[in-house]
C-alpha cells in the first residue's frame, strides 16, 4: 500500500524532473544563437533510497539544475591566442599604411612619382648633367627643381608618418574606455558569481563573464588567474593588476613627449603594454617602435644628403664668382641642426640658380670640379656608411621584410584561433540535432511516466474497491 502511493510520488517526481529537463532543452534552443552562450545539460540525481525493515526502496529522481558544458582551459587558450592575433592584426594594418608610402617604382614614368629612390638619382644626375655645361641656366634650374622634388617627397613621407602616428595614438587611447568598462563589468560579475555559486559553475553569469573576458583579450593582453570561490583576477601580461575579484582598477591616460602614455594607478605601463598583445599592444608597437624606426631612417637620409650637398656647394664658386661665407652661406637645402626631424623639415632654400657652385674654390666660373664632386656624392658612403641609393635600397627591403614577417605571423595566429574556436564550439555550442534528440527522449520518458501514473491510478482504484468494481472508478 505504501508502495503504491510512494510509486505515485516517484512518478510525479519523474514528471517534474522531465519537465524541468525539457525547460533546459527549450532554453538551449532559444539561446542557440546567443553569442557566448554555453550549452547546458540537465543534472539527474537519484534520490537516496529508503531502508524499511531491511528492504531498500528507491526514491526516484530529481533534476537538480543545469550544468554548462565548458572547458575553461580551452577558453583561456582561445583568449590568449586571440590576444596575439589581435595584436599582430592591428600592427599589420598600421604597417600596411606605412609601406603604402614607399610603393616600389615599377620603372614607368608615372610610377616614379613620389619615389624617393628615383628622386635621389634624378637629383645627383642633375649635377652630372651640369658637369657637361656648368654655366647653362637651364641645367642649373634642373638642379634646383630636382632638389625640390626630392625634398618635397621626403618631407611628405615624414609628414604622413607623423600623421599616421597621431592616428594610432588616438586609436590607442580610445581603447582605454572600452577596457575600463569591461574590467568594471567583470568585477561586478565576479562578485555575483562568488556570492551565488562559489562551488559550481555559475551558468549564464559565467557565460557573460567569459564573453567579457574574450572581448577584453582582443583589446589588451591579459593574464587570467583563478582564485578561490570561483573568483578571477586579471592582470596585464606584465603583471599590473586590473581586476582583483570584486574590485577593478582603471587604466588611465596622460601625455608625455607628445604621445599618450598609459597608467595603472601611478605606474606608467606603456612600454609593457606594447609587448603585451591585444589591439592596444599592436597600436603601441606600431606607434612606438615601427613608425619611429622608419622616421629615423628617413631622418638619417635627409640629414646626410642635405648637410653634404650644402657643405660642398658652400665650398665652391658660383656663377657670380662668389663663395659661401659664414654670414651668407651658399646652401641649397635648409641646413638641419640635428638628425631627428630633418626629414620633415627638408626643403630647398636656394632660389637663384646662379648660386649653385659648380666651379671649385678659386676657379673660374666655367670650371666643373664642384659639380662633379656633388654628382659623386651619389657613390660615396655618406649615409651611415652606405651610399644614398644603397641606404634607401636597404631601408626598403628591411621595411618589406618586417611587414611580410608580421603578415606570416598574423596568418598563422588566425589559423590557430580558428582551430581553437572550432574546438570550443564543438564542446559548448548548441547543436540543434542534439537538442532535438534530447527533447524526443524526454518526451518519451514523460509519456512513459504519465502512462505508469495512469496504470497506478487504475491499480489504486482496484485496491480501493477491493475487488468490487462499483465504488471507485
Amino acid at each position: 500500500m505504501g508502495t503504491i502511493s510512494s510509486a505515485f510520488s516517484l512518478m510525479s517526481g519523474a514528471l517534474d524532473a522531465d519537465q524541468s529537463a525539457l525547460s533546459i532543452v527549450a532554453n538551449n534552443v532559444a539561446n542557440a544563437n546567443t553569442p557566448g552562450y554555453t550549452e547546458e545539460t540537465p543534472n539527474w540525481q537519484q534520490n537516496a533510497p529508503l531502508e524499511i525493515n531491511g528492504v531498500s526502496l528507491g526514491a526516484g529522481v530529481t533534476e537538480t539544475g543545469a550544468t554548462s558544458l565548458r572547458d575553461r582551459v580551452l577558453e583561456e587558450r582561445l583568449d590568449q591566442q586571440q590576444q596575439l592575433a589581435s595584436a599582430s592584426g592591428t600592427r599589420l594594418t598600421a604597417l600596411d599604411g606605412v609601406q603604402a608610402l614607399f610603393t616600389p617604382d615599377s620603372g614607368s614614368t608615372a610610377s616614379a612619382a613620389g619615389d624617393i629612390g628615383s628622386d635621389m638619382t634624378s637629383f645627383f644626375s642633375s649635377f652630372s648633367s651640369l658637369e657637361a655645361n656648368p654655366t647653362d641656366n637651364a641645367l642649373r634650374q634642373q638642379v634646383l627643381s630636382s632638389a625640390a622634388t626630392l625634398a618635397g617627397d621626403v618631407s611628405n613621407a615624414a609628414a604622413s608618418l607623423n600623421a599616421q602616428r597621431s592616428a594610432l595614438d588616438q586609436e590607442a587611447s580610445g581603447v582605454t574606455s572600452q577596457v575600463n568598462s569591461l574590467t568594471g563589468a567583470i568585477a561586478q560579475l565576479n562578485q555575483q558569481i562568488q556570492s551565488t555559486s562559489p562551488d559550481a559553475d555559475a551558468g549564464t553569469l559565467e557565460d557573460q563573464r567569459q564573453q567579457d573576458l574574450s572581448q577584453l583579450s582582443q583589446l589588451i593582453g591579459i593574464n587570467q588567474i583563478k582564485t578561490e570561490n570561483n573568483g578571477l583576477s586579471i592582470t596585464t601580461t606584465s603583471g599590473q593588476l586590473l581586476v582583483s575579484e570584486g574590485a577593478s582598477y582603471q587604466l588611465t591616460t596622460g601625455t608625455a613627449g607628445g604621445v599618450t602614455h598609459f597608467f595603472v594607478g601611478t605606474t606608467d605601463v606603456t612600454s609593457q603594454l606594447a609587448g603585451g598583445g591585444g589591439e592596444l599592444g599592436g597600436y603601441l608597437t606600431a606607434r612606438d617602435q615601427d613608425i619611429p624606426g622608419v622616421l629615423s631612417s628617413l631622418d638619417q637620409l635627409a640629414y646626410s644628403v642635405s648637410t653634404q650637398v650644402n657643405s660642398l656647394n658652400n665650398g665652391g664658386t658660383d656663377l657670380d664668382g662668389a663663395s659661401g661665407t659664414t654670414a651668407n652661406p651658399l646652401y641649397i637645402f635648409n641646413q638641419p641642426t640635428a638628425v631627428a626631424g630633418s626629414a620633415a623639415s627638408m626643403n630647398v632654400v636656394m632660389t637663384d640658380p646662379n648660386q649653385i657652385a659648380a666651379a671649385g674654390l678659386g676657379q673660374g666660373t666655367g670650371d666643373n670640379t664642384n659639380a662633379a664632386a656633388m654628382a659623386n656624392l651619389a657613390n660615396q658612403s655618406i649615409v651611415s656608411g652606405l651610399s644614398p641609393t644603397n641606404y634607401f635600397s636597404n631601408f626598403v627591403s628591411t621595411l618589406g621584410a618586417t611587414v611580410s614577417g608580421v603578415q606570416a605571423e598574423n596568418t598563422a595566429q588566425n589559423a590557430s584561433v580558428t582551430q581553437l574556436q572550432t574546438q570550443n564550439n564543438a564542446l559548448s555550442s548548441v547543436s540543434l540535432d542534439d537538442e532535438a534528440s534530447s527533447m524526443t527522449t524526454l518526451e518519451r520518458s514523460y509519456q512513459a511516466a504519465s502512462q505508469v501514473f495512469t496504470m497506478l491510478n487504475t491499480i489504486m482504484a482496484a485496491a480501493l474497491n477491493l475487488g468490487d468494481q462499483t465504488t471507485v472508478s
Binding site: L95, T121, L399, A436
Partner: protein
C-alpha cells in the same frame, strides 16, 4: 565525437580570402606590375631601387655626352680652321722671304698676315652657347686680346689653366677642353701668336730682315705643328665619349631588361592563378549553398 555546429561560418571566411586573392590577381593583370607593395617581395624591391638608379644614371650620361660631343666637335673644327689659316700665313711669309718682292708688296703681305692674326685670334675666341671654349675656367672672359702698342704686338691670354672632365658612370674621366694658352701661346717657338706678331712686325716697314723673317716663319711652322698635336687631345676625347656612350647604352638596355623582368607581371602565370582562384570561389559558394540547405536540423524531421 561532436562537431562545431557553426562550421559554415568558417567557410565564409575562406570565401572572403578567395575573393581578396582574385582582386589582387586582377589588379596585377591590369597594371602589368607584379610587385605592388614592399612586403610582396622585399628583396626584389631593394634590388629594384639599385637597378633603377643605375638605369637613370646611364640615361643621364647619354644625354650629357651628346651635348658634350657637340662642344668638342666645334673645338676640333675650329682648330682645323686655325691650321688652314696658318698654312696660308706660312706660304705668304715664304714668298715674302725669298727677296723677290718690292717693299709695297711686302707691306701688303704684312697686312694679310695681320688679317690672318686677327682671324686666328677670332677663332681662338670661339664661343659655344655663350661660353668661350679656349679660356680654361674663365669662360665668360675673352681669352685672347692683342695690343699693338708694342712692336711686335703682344697677344695676352686672359683665361686660366683649368681643365674640365666629364665622368662616365663607370668612373672614367674624359677631358672636355684644352686651355687656350696651351694651344696658341705655348712657350718659345710653339707660340702661334708670338710667331704671327713677329712676322707682322717683320713686314711692317717693307724692308725684310731675311734671317729674322726666316726664323720667325720656321717658328710659325713649329707652332702650327704644335696646334695639330693639341688637336689630338680633343679628338681623343671625342672617341672616348663615343665609346663610353655606346657602352653605357648597351649597359642600360641590359639593366632595363633585368628590371622589367623583376617587376612586371608574367601574364601567363597570373592568368592561370586567376582562373584557379575563380574556380575555387565558385566551388566554395556551391559547397556553402549545399551545406546550408542540408543543415536543417533534426527538428524539421520530428513529427509534431
Amino acid at each position: 565525437m561532436r562537431v562545431d555546429p557553426n562550421y559554415v561560418s568558417n567557410l565564409v571566411g575562406s570565401l572572403d580570402q578567395a575573393q581578396a586573392s582574385q582582386e589582387q590577381l586582377t589588379a596585377e593583370l591590369s597594371s602589368g606590375v607584379s610587385i605592388t607593395s614592399l612586403s610582396q617581395n622585399p628583396v626584389a624591391s631593394g634590388q629594384n631601387v639599385l637597378l633603377l638608379n643605375q638605369i637613370q644614371q646611364d640615361d643621364s650620361f647619354t644625354q650629357s655626352s651628346s651635348l658634350v660631343t657637340g662642344q668638342l666637335q666645334v673645338a676640333d673644327s675650329t682648330l682645323g680652321s686655325v691650321v688652314s689659316q696658318l698654312t696660308q700665313a706660312i706660304s705668304l711669309a715664304t714668298s715674302a722671304n725669298n727677296g723677290t718682292l718690292n717693299p709695297s708688296d711686302v707691306k701688303s703681305i704684312g697686312n694679310q698676315v695681320s688679317g690672318i692674326l686677327d682671324e686666328v685670334q677670332s677663332l681662338a675666341n670661339t664661343n659655344y652657347q655663350g661660353q668661350y671654349i679656349f679660356a680654361g675656367g674663365q669662360t665668360s672672359t675673352t681669352p685672347f686680346t692683342t695690343s699693338t702698342n708694342t712692336s711686335p704686338g703682344t697677344t695676352t691670354y686672359n683665361g686660366d689653366e683649368d681643365v674640365n672632365y666629364l665622368q662616365t658612370p663607370n668612373g672614367q674621366k674624359i677631358q672636355l677642353n684644352v686651355p687656350g694658352d696651351q694651344i696658341f701661346s705655348a712657350s718659345g717657338s710653339n707660340s702661334v701668336f708670338g710667331a704671327l706678331n713677329n712676322l707682322v712686325a717683320d713686314y711692317a716697314s717693307g724692308a725684310v730682315d731675311t734671317a729674322q723673317a726666316v726664323s720667325d716663319t720656321t717658328a710659325l711652322s713649329t707652332a702650327m705643328n704644335y696646334v695639330s698635336q693639341q688637336r689630338v687631345t680633343i679628338d681623343n676625347s671625342i672617341t672616348q665619349i663615343t665609346a663610353a656612350s655606346d657602352a653605357v647604352t648597351s649597359d642600360q638596355t641590359q639593366l632595363t631588361t633585368a628590371q622589367t623582368n623583376l617587376m612586371q607581371a608574367d601574364v601567363a602565370t597570373v592568368s592561370t592563378q586567376l582562373s584557379l582562384a575563380e574556380t575555387q570561389q565558385t566551388a566554395l559558394e556551391d559547397v556553402i549553398a549545399q551545406l546550408d540547405s542540408a543543415s536543417n536540423s533534426l527538428f524539421s524531421k520530428l513529427q509534431p
